[in-house]
Symmetry: C2
Subunit: 219 residues, 2 copies
């Protein structure tokens, strides 16, 4: 049974998943990078993305949560801003994502956008599919493409909120960073009084961050 | 040096210090009681307020944080809603607080209100003073009355936000409960991009709740 999962979604203590004054050059807003410092330290992140920290790669609780984000995932759904800074209709085929020639997905990725574009096959097994009929269609296509594995909702915040509103999420890992941003994009917002049908299964802290697992509530 | 402190202020995972649909009969809103279950279990709470749980009184991390709220406190500031459900001018002297004949403060308590009332001396050392010229005046009077001990901001949320906006808070203990309320009164709100001048000193989880200590940032 394919599950729809969210991992490593990080918010500040005051509830923001990105800081204030977001723009195309600063997609995480002012101070937003500080949210993610915990994951930069993990062995899992550094194997995939390289070193953004001088310390040794860390294993332990944070790394365990980081690693779960890749386990048994056969397809990913992301919003257009996660794919790149281009807005409006695609001017050409030049932009191929933030990740260079070999994106770290190694499976089909469904990009929710208003603007059609042909599928983009990259080295290493990642193909970007551009879905123009909404997040539910993107999730449906991802499930079909996942080959029996799970589907990960990769973000950003708006795609996640759309999935939560549609009741599509089976499991969500959230990290709370010990950071105050004072403004920005709230994670728990635009949810019509929800997230409905979700409950907290676990809350545990490392020295860097607090991890929370939300799961679909048992009826 | 008298410090201005906040203790045991609890918010939900989605950021609410009280649930939706607050009214005079339900001052914590729908589901808001669930925020405080962790403290009902503590030995400190039960010594003061009695048993609201069937289990044994718990010591350990949660109890340590609960107990700190009473240590070295010489005066308390609260909002009118924390004192009682009466709204508008005081019709008479009948309402004397939620706590019965012997309130658990045992020191001067300054109630921020728009409506004048004579001081109310209770058994056990608690006197309620009604302050009509704002939260800063209430804190100033509390400092003068604390006899060199600290002043606690007891809540509710609006009084706390006013104190944070005015830069009055030296230290704040916040508990994050593994609860989703879906709406209600946001804790980190109406802070003009703040809390300014505060930083996170500690974040640690028990099995029931995550504790965070905010302190005045060192310049």
């Amino acid at each position: 049974m394919t599950r729809i999962r969210v991992h490593n979604m990080t918010m500040s203590l005051d509830g923001y998943a990105a800081g204030p004054d977001q723009d195309l050059e600063h997609p995480l807003g002012t101070g937003g990078e500080r949210l993610h410092e915990w994951i930069f330290e993990t062995a899992t992140f550094r194997r995939t993305y390289g070193d953004r920290s001088d310390g040794p790669p860390e294993e332990g609780l944070d790394d365990e949560f980081a690693r779960l984000g890749d386990d048994e995932v056969g397809a990913t759904v992301i919003g257009r801003n996660m794919f790149g800074p281009v807005r409006g209709p695609w001017p050409d085929e030049e932009w191929t994502g933030w990740w260079g020639d070999i994106p770290p997905y190694h499976h089909p990725v469904f990009v929710v956008t208003h603007h059609e574009r042909a599928p983009l096959e990259m080295a290493g097994g990642t193909t970007f599919h551009f879905v123009t009929d909404g997040v539910e269609a993107a999730v449906e296509q991802a499930v079909a493409a996942a080959g029996g594995l799970d589907v990960r909702i990769g973000g950003g915040v708006q795609v996640l909120q759309q999935c939560l509103r549609a009741g599509l999420v089976d499991e969500m890992h959230l990290a709370i960073a010990p950071v105050l941003l004072g403004g920005g994009e709230r994670l728990f917002d635009r949810l019509d009084g929800g997230p409905h049908g979700m409950e907290v299964a676990e809350m545990v802290s490392s020295t860097r961050v607090t991890h929370v697992r939300l799961v679909r509530a048992t009826p």
